[in-house]
Amino acid sequence: MQARPRDGGHRLRLARLGLLALALVASASLGARTDADAQEGDTGTTTTAPTSGQQPAAESIRGRIRDEDRRPIEGVELAVRRGNRTIGEATTDGEGVWEVPVPSPGTYQVTIDTDSLSRGAELRDPDRATIDVDVGPEQNKGVIFPIGEPRTSGVQAGSRFFNLVGQGIRVGAVLAVASIGLSLIYGVTGFVNFSHGELVTWGALIAFYFSATVGGPEIPLPLATVLAMLFGGVLGFALERGLFGPLRHRRSGNVSLIVVSIGLGLLLRNVFQIVFGERPRPYSDYTVQENVEIGPFALPPKDFVIIGVSIVVLIGVGLLLQRSRIGTAMRAVADDRDLAAASGINVDRIILAVWIMGAGLAALGGVFQGISDRVIFDMGFALLLLMFAAVILGGLGTAYGAMVGGLLIGVVTEVSTYWIESKYKLAAALAVLILVVLVRPQGILGRAERVG
């Protein structure tokens, strides 16, 4: 994105700075509002004071310590260090607010003195009394120390692991649903669709339009999801009939199809950005939910529903492929296109059916992803690499491979954060992909063949 002349870059940076400032102001006023709800009205102005007062004085780290009932805690001592050097110390005031100015952007360690926490308050996570903070240029960085019932560490370690597994199953279920189309389209046409991620985003955006746009139809999300799948199928139909089908009939090679799909993905992604905007937005339904425990897993109810519906959908797809006439034909075409054509199967119709089904499922995956996270214009592109990992791990070209690979990749990505920082989790999944290509390129369920 930096590939632009210098003055353009400046403008962009300025715009980003403006956005950042806007976000800061917004969050400050938001904080003020919740505070006013909780307490007397006049606290609102005092909380914003540190932001506006310190704005010209470059960088600082600040925060506010409040107990579980959102009452400020006074007299908590905090220290900011960089390496071995202490940069500054602060004690929270009557509003629980503290602030330490720092000399320059960089990484600092903020430590809360747990002994100074009064009223028997304790850190929710006792292992995180020290937090690494990255401060950007001219940033007043906020740090949160959650106060509340501490989780006893032994049980917590176990439950954290299971929670990650649970989250992984959810991510994996979404991946499995979304990547069946990618794998099956490859299976029947031999073409890797690099714009498959945009089919996922498309579904999420359609559901967003129907359920959460102000002034839109505002129908319930489950109904909007069905519509999203329908529209997904329509897009799949249009792409096969209008673009990829004709190209295939022209005997365009794999390479040119892939490059075309790259261009298509780029086009769609940026059109989405223009229409939907840059900001991630949640659906209006099911945004914040309390975790519930089922077995060892504590997840929000929406995640359990997503997992449940995904499993039903996956079984449905399996039955369709295994039992129905068209499903059998799909597998036959994926297995050997010429042989299938010779035995009287209308290959073009089957390919069209695969595109419609695959795009519909991708749209469903997009809605799921939007529900459990948020809707953003490039969510599908972010998922695309994970979907590649999933279908290659499972075996490129088979629907069941996408299911198995999706679940495995989902669990691997989430559980990897038990050991590594979560910002590296995509890297962990892609490392699995590279490893699979090295060791077993045909994947778990694929058939070994000479592929080069």
Binding site: S256, V260, L266, L426
Partner: protein, 329 residues
Amino acid sequence: MDIVGVLADAMRTAVGPIAAAYAIAGIGLNLQFGYTGLLNFGHVAFMLVGAYGTAITVDDGGPLWLGILVGMGAAILLGLLFGLPTLRLRADYLAIVTIAAAEVLRIVVRGGGESSFTHGVFGIQRFANSFFDANPIPGGDYGIGRLSFTQRGLWVLAVGWSVVALTAVLVALIARSPWGRILRAIREDEDAARSLGKNTFVVKLQSLVVGGAIASLAGTLLAIDRQDVRPDTYLPIVTFAIYTMVILGGPATRLGPILGAIVYWFILQFTDSFLREAIDAGWIPTSIISADDIAPVRFALVGLGLMLLMIFRPQGMFGRREEVLIDGR
């Protein structure tokens, strides 16, 4: 609307240092994609290691020339890393693995804190002072009106286009050598090349590595021009943009990537300046396209252009249709 100014903007970008850097990267990609038929979608990673190799070396006290070599060496290693697992497999695997590996690399570089040697999101700045100290061009501005460069810009530009010329000559020599003929044979029919006793795996690997080393120079040039490296400069879209340039100019031609880069940046900057002026002048209501939308509009056009080129004119402006990979593998 200042149409002359818009054209001057576009012209300045089209011959500017960024276009030169992209032309170098395109020359590297042309060797891999145009001549050999390799679908390398992680090209930006070669630029990343070139840029970071230079920046880190100088940041740790090394001289600039050593940094450039370190960047090149890292690109050669990266090429081996990309190629060894994938080049025995179908073209799709190389495409997927390279795009994935390039993202892994960016995430890892980005993930380090300020104290790590890549400085994480903060990046590294002001490492090319020795390059600008060596500037022999006397001070002042050169050019007419908006189409002018500072003394500093002209220096980067001169060096940049010299490197473009050198790498273009190198690739042209490669292409007419016996080794270059094997590359084309692999593109046309790898099985035939193999049955003639050529070790196509090794030749493909060499092509990937040489193309990558050339691209590392592009990364270095971009980094020197900005005096700044940051991980988020090296997004997958850079690779896609370079593909657009190479196909626009004409794959497997000597001058294709260079002319492609010039035309690409001319069109891109023209669109950018034109839209800005049109929005300022009130020709386009901001309800349809606001100033914030200009970047996505540009990239949407790149996507559309890439699609249409590949469908209707895969040989680009100057290529020959027989030389182009219409029927892949």
